[in-house]
Structures are given as structure tokens and as C-alpha cells.
């Protein structure tokens, strides 16, 4: 049990959904570090707030309203019905009423109404309209960094209002006036400068991959390769840089390599596109998102690949599946027989179905698995050619690799899945209290299947989820190694050698 300077939420029965009574301002002090000029400048944002920022914020809001139908419509049509109020993991974990999706959106909506609607201009008190002020900005900074943009609220809203869109807009406005978030903006700077979120330079990557090849050879006796920058390969694999860096991520990367090897498909990583993640989405900035995505296009063209496959990463898959064609397409220079991009789970699941690879479940003996659906995969993307493939395909792969699989409570999985608590650009140490508390609905559902079904491990298909759980599990008296990559399970089960 890690000692924490705050209370760890008690875990109840996920079937009964205990909803906490509201505790006003419980998380008012939660604030990530503000970006310094050195983090802002490479992204083209002002280094600090300067005279007249209020007007610039409103002007920027007006610009976003005219560019994003989602924002304009969502600002107008909320009826305050409250259907979303008990749906956010951060509200359930912290009880702070400003973490209720409608209340969070209202922090933005109150300003929208004041400057962009007749009633807000004439009778602000009637509709709760507010002037833009330092007080409002501080509230925005705190609470729009207590939203992981997981979109669970949008599933339950009768109009599909998506708080993620509003959080993204708020963060973009704050960036535009010089009040950025250090964690996200520093990472984006690293992508532009070095090529990936972790700032791993090419020599370090190459060294890491060589080390992994040796590990696989020692372990299996089979020379499985992890190629990088190899022109003429069939597949470009784009994966989160955590896959080069930490467990359980690396074990998943070894799994991808074994699958490609067993399937006899040539592939390569790229130093230029050594990052699937795209924090441009978290800060709600289209141009940053596009700039980061273009590296993938350039790498694919330079290496002359025919297909692009993404590794296990939640928000990266949303940006890849839903946005990449928009941001960096068209992909007419790739093989038209395959969707662009594909997910590694689509690739592996297809091979399993066609008997292109063999899995031996005894490689995962003694393990009872459950799976955590990542929000961006579940609610912002798809796998396969049918709606809901993002739920069946990962489960099919896991079931093919492990002796026993159990799902968590139905209200906590698939499109109702709870965020791990660390998504959306919040995976930073100064937000640990928020992350621990926000993880409680998922931990509750996990504990339920651990107690009732003897679950030993939880598979995740997202770098942020894996990193978050590794850190958070001990707070809830679980072993940090409970969380595994889906392809780590494949890696343990795959039969290498002669695949006839």
C-alpha cells in the first residue's frame, strides 16, 4: 500500500454504482504545472499572459465556434437534464461537482453565453453568464485539466454532447493566450525536436531494439528482428514510444515483432515516426495534430512501405483511425487492399482467424485475464469492418492466447468503459491525487472480478492506460504487474519456428 496524503476512495459493488454526495471545491486546488515560455514558444504559443488576454481569449473562442460545429451546437443545446452527472470517473472519484460533465461544460458555457448570446448579454444572471476574468481562467485551468477527454458523458447525453470537445476548446484557448500546460506542451516539443514523446534519440532507439532482439533470441532461440528505418519493408509500424521504454509496454512490442516474424511479413519502425501518440488532440489544436501526423506520411513515403499499422495506444488509435486520413491523407500511394491505418490487433486477429499464426495457451498458464477497454478505442474509433469490432477483436485475441478470460461488470466495459484516470494529457505526477481517485470506478470493477472470478491480470491496449495502472494499482493494494499488454499475452503464447 503506497502511503498517500489523500484519501483513497473505498471500492464498492460495481453493480450498484454508489454515487457520492457532492463536495464543493474538493479538487479546486488540483492544477498541473503551467508551461514556461520554453514549452510554449516551439508550438507558437505566447509564453505568458499579457495585458488584454481576456479579449484575445474571447476572440479565439469566437474563432473556434465558427470552425467547430460540435462546439457551437454543444454550447447551445444542453438542457441541464443531469443525465451525465454521475457518469464521469473524476466526479465519482472526487465528488467535486465541477467534475460533473454538465458543470464542467458550464464553466465554458457561462462565458460563451456572456459574449455570444443575446440573453447572456442582456440578463447574465438569468442564465448564469459570466465575464471572462482571472478567476474564471483559474477555474478553467484547474477543471479542464480534470477531464481526460474520455467521452463517457457523450455516450449517455440525449444529444451526444461531448465534454472532450469542450475541454479541447478550452485548452486551445488557454494555450492561445499563454496559459499552457507544461506536461502536454513539453511532450509536443519533444516530438517536433526529437521525434517522440519520451525524447528518445535515434541511437537510443536502435540500441533498445538490438537489446530486445537479443532478449527474444535468448528466450526462444529464434532470431526475431525488430527493424528500424528499413526501406522497402511491407509494413510501417507506428507505436507509442513507451513501447521502447517500459514494462509492460516493451513486452507488447516484442509480441508485435513475433507476430510479424511468424506471419512472414516484412516490417519496419521509423526513427522519424517513432511515436504513435499525438498530444495535439489533448490540447485541442488541429494544426499541431496535423503537424505531428505528417511525420507518419513522410516516413511512409521515404521508406516506401505498402501498409501502416499502429501499435497498442488508445488516443493514438483514435487520431489514427478517425483523423489520420483527414490530417495526413490521402493515402493513395499505399496498397489499396488494406485500410489505412490498421491496428496491430486487427492484423493479429486476422492471422489467428486464418490460422496464419499458432498460439499455445499454456504460455500463459495460471493466468485469469480481464480486459480494460480504452476510452479512445471504445468510443472514438473502431477495429475491423463492423461497428463494435473494437470490443470483439481484442477479446478474440486475448481468448486465443489465455486459458481463462472474464469480462468486468457490463456497466464498466465496451462503450461504457471507465477511463483509467490518466488519459487526456493528465498522466503527470503533480496530478496524482486526481489520477488515483479517477481510477476508482475501474478499480472497483477490477476488484469485483478479482474477488469473484479469481482474475489475476488485466490486459490493456493503450500506453497511457498501462503507465497509469502500473502507477495506480498499488494504491488499491494490487500488484503493479497486474496490468499486461494484449500483445504480451500473444508473445507468451505464440509458437515460433515452423509455421506451416
Amino acid at each position: 500500500m503506497a502511503a498517500a496524503p489523500f484519501d483513497i476512495p473505498a471500492l464498492g459493488d460495481p453493480a450498484r454504482h454508489p454515487v457520492p454526495a457532492i463536495k464543493a471545491d474538493a479538487m479546486a486546488a488540483s492544477r498541473p504545472y503551467v508551461a514556461a515560455e520554453a514549452h510554449q514558444q516551439p508550438l507558437g504559443f505566447p509564453g505568458e499572459l499579457t495585458e488584454g488576454w481576456e479579449k484575445r481569449a474571447i476572440d479565439h473562442m469566437g474563432g473556434l465556434l465558427s470552425k467547430y460545429r460540435s462546439l457551437q451546437v454543444f454550447m447551445d443545446i444542453c438542457v441541464k437534464c443531469g443525465a451525465c452527472t454521475d457518469k464521469c470517473h473524476y466526479f465519482l472519484g472526487t465528488a467535486d461537482p465541477k467534475n460533473m460533465p454538465v458543470a464542467r461544460a458550464d464553466l465554458f458555457r457561462s462565458v460563451y453565453r456572456r459574449y455570444f448570446t443575446p440573453v447572456g448579454k442582456l440578463a447574465p444572471g438569468l442564465v448564469g453568464a459570466r465575464d471572462m476574468s482571472k478567476e474564471v481562467l483559474d477555474e478553467w485551468y484547474s477543471y479542464f485539466h480534470q477531464c481526460s477527454q474520455c467521452r463517457r458523458c457523450s455516450v449517455f447525453c440525449p444529444y451526444g454532447i461531448d465534454t472532450a470537445e469542450i475541454s479541447m476548446a478550452a485548452r486551445d484557448i488557454m494555450d492561445s493566450i499563454g496559459q499552457g500546460q507544461k506536461y502536454c506542451n513539453e511532450i509536443i516539443g519533444k516530438v517536433h525536436k526529437i521525434g517522440n514523446n519520451l525524447g528518445l534519440p535515434a541511437p537510443a532507439l536502435i540500441d533498445t531494439l538490438e537489446g530486445l532482439e537479443e532478449d527474444i533470441l535468448d528466450e526462444t532461440g529464434v532470431p526475431v528482428r525488430l527493424p528500424i528505418d528499413e526501406a522497402g519493408a511491407e509494413v510501417l509500424l507506428v507505436t507509442p514510444s513507451a513501447d521502447f521504454f517500459a514494462e509492460p509496454h516493451v513486452l507488447g512490442l516484442m509480441g508485435y515483432a513475433k507476430v510479424f516474424h511468424a506471419a512472414g511479413v516484412s516490417w519496419t519502425l521509423s526513427t522519424k515516426a517513432s511515436e504513435a501518440g499525438n498530444f495535439g488532440m489533448f490540447i485541442g489544436n488541429y494544426e499541431q495534430m496535423r503537424k505531428i501526423s505528417m511525420r507518419i506520411r513522410e516516413a511512409a513515403q521515404e521508406l516506401g512501405v505498402k501498409r501502416i499499422i499502429f501499435g497498442e495506444c488508445g488516443h493514438a488509435w483514435r487520431v489514427a483511425y478517425s483523423f489520420l486520413n483527414t490530417l495526413a491523407g490521402p493515402w493513395d500511394f499505399l496498397d489499396p487492399r488494406y485500410p489505412v491505418p490498421q491496428h496491430i490487433l486487427e492484423f493479429t486477429s486476422d492471422l489467428i482467424a486464418r490460422k496464419g499464426i499458432k498460439l499455445d495457451k499454456s504460455g500463459n498458464d495460471g493466468m485469469v485475464l480481464t480486459v480494460h477497454d480504452s476510452c479512445n478505442v471504445a468510443r472514438g474509433a473502431r477495429m475491423g469492418d463492423r461497428p463494435g469490432g473494437q470490443f470483439t477483436i481484442p477479446r478474440d485475441v486475448i481468448k486465443a492466447a489465455v486459458p481463462k478470460f472474464v469480462d468486468m461488470h457490463p456497466d464498466t466495459i465496451c462503450d461504457k468503459t471507465y477511463c483509467c484516470g490518466g488519459g487526456g494529457g493528465l498522466l503527470t505526477d503533480e496530478l496524482i491525487e486526481l489520477r488515483v481517485k479517477g481510477a476508482s470506478p475501474r478499480m472497483e470493477a477490477l476488484k469485483d472480478v478479482v474477488d469473484k472470478e479469481g482474475v489475476t491480470h488485466m490486459a490493456a491496449m493503450c500506453a497511457i492506460c498501462k503507465a497509469q495502472f502500473t502507477k495506480i494499482l498499488p494504491y488499491y493494494d494490487f500488484d503493479r504487474e497486474m496490468v499486461v499488454s494484449v500483445h504480451q499475452l500473444v508473445s507468451n503464447a505464440i509458437v515460433l519456428g515452423d509455421n506451416d
Partner: protein
């Protein structure tokens, strides 16, 4: 009273129609630069039409969210829908098929509408979380609708008004011809509140009615890999 309401109805109709048209034009004009449907989402336009239909008629997402709230909302909206159709008789020289069809349901529908509104109003005070996000405008909107419902029901069940004259007034008004309204305080109040509702509609959360159909998380097909989706402003970035 007749001249007052004739002018007021012309003005409120104009505000409602023009205001809604402007809002709908604004929504239609504003691009949706990215594919953001809440998945799993339909792959075809037909599938989207079904999804929106289920949301508009059955309140599908709300049903998944909160059964009790769904019940209150359905009871109110269904009642309102029947009452609105039934009110067609004041504007049609020949009573239409639909208006005739709902005739026997008029009274229960009116009751359902008022009951639903009452429950929604009570909920605003009783539920701590809903109370927290409630503004004066949210209460006033429910009170306004309740006022319309209660005065309507009162005329139907308690103090009958001369509905033949009311019909004459409205059918006349549609041809810009003045015919006298009954001088009835209950009717006057009812019509006044209706005009107020029509005037506030385009400036209030009642925009959820047209807005639902413009909500990108509900009205987009899930085809980003198959079809390249590009907004005009985003396309201009590519020319740089």
C-alpha cells in the same frame, strides 16, 4: 384583445421562424472538421438516420443513462406531441387525419404533459446534482411550459372557452383577416404564454430540438478510413 393578439402572434411567429432559421443556418454553415461520432456508430447514412430517429423519438441514450429521468422526459414530450397535433384543429378548415386520430388521446396527453413537467420541476429541487447545475432560466422554462399546460387543461376541463371562435380567429389570422377572440382571461393567459414560448425558443436551450440533428457525435457515419473527410478551412492549411 383581438388586435393585441393578432399583432403578437404575427410577431412571435416571425421571431420563432426567423430565429430558428438563423440558428439552423449557423449550425449548417459551421463545419465539422473531424469525424467524431461516439462509437460504435453506424457505417451508412441510413444507419445514421435510424440512430437519430431512435434518439429523437425514443431518447435512446437517455434511456441508457437514467431510467427515471427518461420516463419523465418521455411522458412530457409524448404528451406535448399529442397536444400539438391536436391543436391542429385551430388552424385547419378541414380537420386532418392525424388531428382526428389523436382526438381521444387529448385529455390524457394534456395530463401527461403537465405531470411530466411537474416531475421534471420537482426533480430540479430534489436531486442534489441537478440542483447544482440548475439556473433560474431552467426553472422559468419549466414554469412557462407548465403555465401553458395548466391553462390549457383548465379550459378543456374546468372553464370552457368558445373554441369555435378561437378557431375562427386563427383561421382568419392565417388569411390576414381579423375575427374576434373570446374575451376570456384564461384563454388570454394561455395565448400570452404561448407567444412568450415562441419568442424565447430560438434563444434558449429549446434549441436542443433542431440541435440534436446537427450533433456530430450522433449524425456522422463511422467511415473515416474509407472516405477522406476534410473541412474547407482545414483544406486551406494544406495549400501552405
Amino acid at each position: 384583445m383581438t388586435i393585441f393578439f393578432a399583432i403578437l402572434f404575427c410577431v412571435s411567429t416571425l421571431v420563432l421562424v426567423a430565429g430558428l432559421a438563423m440558428k439552423i443556418a449557423q449550425y449548417a454553415r459551421t463545419p465539422a472538421p473531424l469525424k467524431i461520432p461516439t462509437t460504435p456508430a453506424p457505417l451508412t447514412k441510413g444507419g445514421v438516420a435510424l440512430r437519430l430517429g431512435r434518439e429523437a423519438v425514443l431518447f435512446e441514450s437517455l434511456y441508457r443513462a437514467n431510467r427515471l429521468l427518461w420516463l419523465f422526459a418521455i411522458v412530457f414530450h409524448l404528451g406535448l406531441a399529442v397536444v400539438l397535433i391536436r391543436h391542429g384543429r385551430y388552424f385547419q378548415a378541414e380537420i386532418g387525419f392525424l388531428t382526428q386520430l389523436v382526438q381521444p388521446l387529448a385529455q390524457p396527453a394534456g395530463l401527461a404533459m403537465v405531470a411530466g413537467l411537474g416531475l421534471l420541476l420537482v426533480r430540479r429541487f430534489v436531486s442534489e446534482r441537478v440542483r447544482y447545475v440548475t439556473r433560474p432560466s431552467d426553472i422559468l422554462m419549466l414554469v412557462l411550459l407548465l403555465g401553458i399546460g395548466v391553462t390549457g387543461m383548465a379550459m378543456k376541463c374546468v372553464v370552457h372557452t368558445d373554441i369555435v371562435a378561437v378557431k375562427a380567429f386563427f383561421t382568419g389570422l392565417m388569411g390576414f383577416e381579423l375575427r374576434p377572440l373570446p374575451n376570456d382571461p384564461l384563454l388570454g393567459l394561455h395565448l400570452l404564454l404561448v407567444c412568450l414560448l415562441m419568442i424565447v425558443f430560438p434563444f434558449s436551450k429549446l434549441l436542443h430540438a433542431p440541435g440534436l440533428f446537427f450533433s456530430p457525435t450522433r449524425n456522422q457515419t463511422d467511415t473515416p478510413r474509407e472516405v477522406r473527410h476534410l473541412a474547407p478551412w482545414a483544406a486551406r492549411l494544406e495549400e501552405k
